[in-house]
């Protein structure tokens, strides 16, 4: 491989992409969708989530609860009683401005480290927090406690829920849905660009010119991947920015963004190796873009509604399901080591398989590439 030729082709492609109306549309579509989602989310979920917190010692456990919300508004309580008064007894019905109440004992972290079992008060408004989210929040707090005093037994949580939600109610933050959907949709950029760039070189016979230049077949493929991946990452970051999706476990969100970008480019490389016309490439990319978006409906809050749907089981056969699941978990700060291993493992394995398959195909074409 030669850096000079790889960069030369990449530079040409990067320029050509913005001069091409169809690829420009591919780049802008996810951003337009993200703008639309951001608008809808702004209209229907413009209010912030008010959290009433009593945390005199400034324990970091507060951040675990805060991270679960896209637009948290923290109100400081003067005493535990103030929090209890705002929510009322467990199981009661009461109109409340607050989504969540948290009472952290003054010596919470110190007590944990000393092997004690401090009790943390968690107040949940079921009108705005689903059962699943409540459970995941408790799990996150327990995990935090373990991280402070592992392997000591964790703190106990005194849970109070007002306005108890129905078992399958979907009252969660739809912002996570919009963020995940927009991000997953953006992954078609890499698929479309890498496939389109390779196929266009074949279709317009410019590949022949490249093959008599100092560029090797490997250089050409590497340059297409470089351009596709670069545009993919930049535009995915823009999409997340537009939908204000940088919340929750941001480093893990970026990890899934990179995995999604690589996955999209790997599919693009596979298509680019198989196809010879831009029409077929465009049609296939269109179909694949559905496979990026559809799993969004079967994970997260909407997934609770569709749990019994047989399609939900089928969806688990697609790697994009695990990509969507991973993104949802990071947005809700609900990623556990087990869920991370499952989601990352499956997506990474699929990326490796796709790249290996595409490279095998492309190596077979190397001998005859100048006659394509």
């Amino acid at each position: 491989m030669h850096r000079r030729t790889i960069l030369a082709i990449a530079r040409k492609d990067a320029l050509d992409i913005v001069l091409n109306k169809s690829t420009l549309m591919v780049l802008l579509s996810p951003i337009l969708v993200a703008v639309l989602f951001a608008f809808i989310n702004g209209v229907f979920a413009s209010k912030t989530d008010k959290l009433l917190i009593f945390n005199p010692s400034g324990s970091a456990v507060e951040q675990v609860a805060v991270d679960a919300y896209q637009k948290p508004e923290i109100v400081r309580a003067g005493s535990p009683d103030e929090v209890a008064a705002q929510f009322g007894p467990d199981g009661s019905k009461k109109s409340s401005d607050y989504v969540l109440g948290l009472v952290v004992p003054a010596d919470f972290d110190t007590s944990l480290r000393a092997g004690g079992h401090p009790q943390l008060g968690l107040y949940v408004n079921g009108d705005q927090v689903s059962n699943e989210q409540r459970q995941l929040l408790m799990q996150a707090i327990t995990d935090y406690s373990r991280s402070v005093a592992n392997p000591q037994p964790p703190a106990s949580i005194a849970l109070t829920t007002i306005n108890p939600p129905k078992p399958n109610s979907v009252v969660q933050d739809l912002g996570a849905f919009y963020t995940a959907a927009a991000l997953l949709m953006s992954f078609m950029i890499g698929t479309s660009l890498v496939s389109g760039l390779l196929v266009e070189e074949k279709e317009k016979k410019t590949l022949r010119m490249l093959m008599v230049s100092p560029a090797s077949w490997g250089d050409i493929i590497a340059s297409k991947l470089l351009v596709g991946l670069t545009y993919q990452v930049i535009f995915s970051l823009v999409v997340v920015g537009v939908v204000k999706g940088f919340y929750g476990q941001v480093p893990l969100l970026l990890l899934f963004l990179m995995l999604g970008a690589l996955f999209g480019c790997a599919i693009g490389l596979m298509f680019g190796s198989l196809l010879k016309t831009q029409n077929t490439s465009g049609a296939l990319v269109g179909i694949v873009s559905f496979l990026f978006i559809i799993p969004t409906f079967f994970v997260g809050p909407l997934g609770q509604l569709l749990q019994s749907n047989p399609v939900a089981g089928v969806m688990q056969a697609f790697p994009t399901y695990y990509l969507a699941q991973g993104i949802f978990n990071t947005l809700g700060s609900q990623t556990t080591p087990e869920s991370l291993a499952l989601d990352v493992g499956i997506v990474a394995a699929c990326i490796v398989v796709l790249f290996a398959g595409a490279l095998w195909m492309l190596r077979r074409q190397a001998a005859v590439v100048s006659t394509i």
Binding site: K12, T206, M209
Partner: protein
């Protein structure tokens, strides 16, 4: 850099595609600064020969050296020393002529100032900023020639450079080729246009069904296959005083025709006289038994 005098030398080149033999044992050579024409009908094996000589495909058997490089074993060096103008117009349509050429500069590591030089050579500097999609076929062809020259190749391969061009564009392309030849570039040209080959090439090879059936200078081929005869145009005054013309053919080898010619010259009736030299197309038809296109 190795600069041999024989710039293209192929020995018994053969190429099979499955059961089909596209090229069957071709041998040819071209010297520095020479335009070598590879002539033949469509499907004769011209493009396959170029692909082997430019390292795009491996020969099934035989060997070839171009600009001092073995086309199989020294492919990387070969690519730096050759330029190729393809049969199809494979430019980046959305990019301007200048950007197409700058891209080649990036590929070969050539300074961008070279772009203006090659644009001047093909007389397109004033259109450099225009997108290729706005160019005529002739202009595109000239940009392709400019692109192939960006790294100052020792050998230039031109595959059907006038295909699909109008007569004016074709003439412009031929003039560009002549200028390159004068500058010392060795050119291998494939064409099915015999007039073009006759005008440009110092040496031509006729290729039919993957085999070279004749290889010589156009002059020798025409003389070897033409008639030793003269076509004479006579003016004969009629009863109204006007002068209709009459054509007649006289052999240069027959004493009676030689005497007749002398008599006509003396009478002042001869208005024009041409040798009956064969055209390259006639030679091709005679040698190959098929028309060139």
């Amino acid at each position: 850099m190795d600069t041999p005098d024989v710039m293209i030398e192929a020995t018994d080149l053969q190429r099979r595609f499955g059961a089909k033999e596209a090229v069957s044992g071709i041998s040819l050579s071209a010297r520095r600064g020479e335009i070598f024409g590879l002539l033949g009908p469509n499907g004769a094996g011209k493009t396959t020969t170029i692909r082997m000589l430019t390292g795009q495909i491996d020969p099934t058997s035989g060997s070839a050296r171009v600009a001092g490089c073995d086309v199989v074993k020294q492919r990387a060096q070969l690519k730096e020393r050759i330029g190729v103008v393809f049969e199809e117009q494979n430019l980046y349509d959305r990019l301007s002529a200048r950007l197409n050429l700058e891209f080649s500069c990036w590929l070969y590591g050539v300074p961008r100032s070279r772009v203006d030089e090659v644009l001047d050579l093909v007389h397109l500097r004033d259109r450099a900023k225009d997108a290729i999609s706005k160019f005529s076929n002739g202009m595109k062809q000239r940009v392709m020639i400019a692109r192939a020259l960006i790294h100052r190749p020792q050998v230039l391969f031109l595959d059907e450079p006038s295909r699909g061009l109008d007569p004016i564009s074709a003439r412009e392309v031929r003039e560009t080729i002549e200028r390159l030849c004068q500058a010392g570039t060795t050119i291998l040209l494939t064409t099915h246009l015999m007039e073009e080959a006759d005008q440009l090439c110092q040496q031509v090879a006729f290729i039919v069904n993957g085999k070279i059936v004749a290889n010589d200078t156009p002059r020798h081929l025409k003389l070897a296959h033409g008639q030793r005869a003269l076509s004479v145009t006579l003016a004969e005054a009629d009863q109204h005083g006007s002068a209709p013309f009459r054509e007649m053919t006289l052999s240069m080898d027959t004493p009676a025709d030689q005497a007749r010619l002398a008599e006509l010259m003396a009478s002042g009736q001869v208005r024009a006289m041409h040798s009956k030299e064969a055209t390259l197309e006639e030679v091709f038809i005679e040698v190959a038994g098929v028309r060139p296109a």
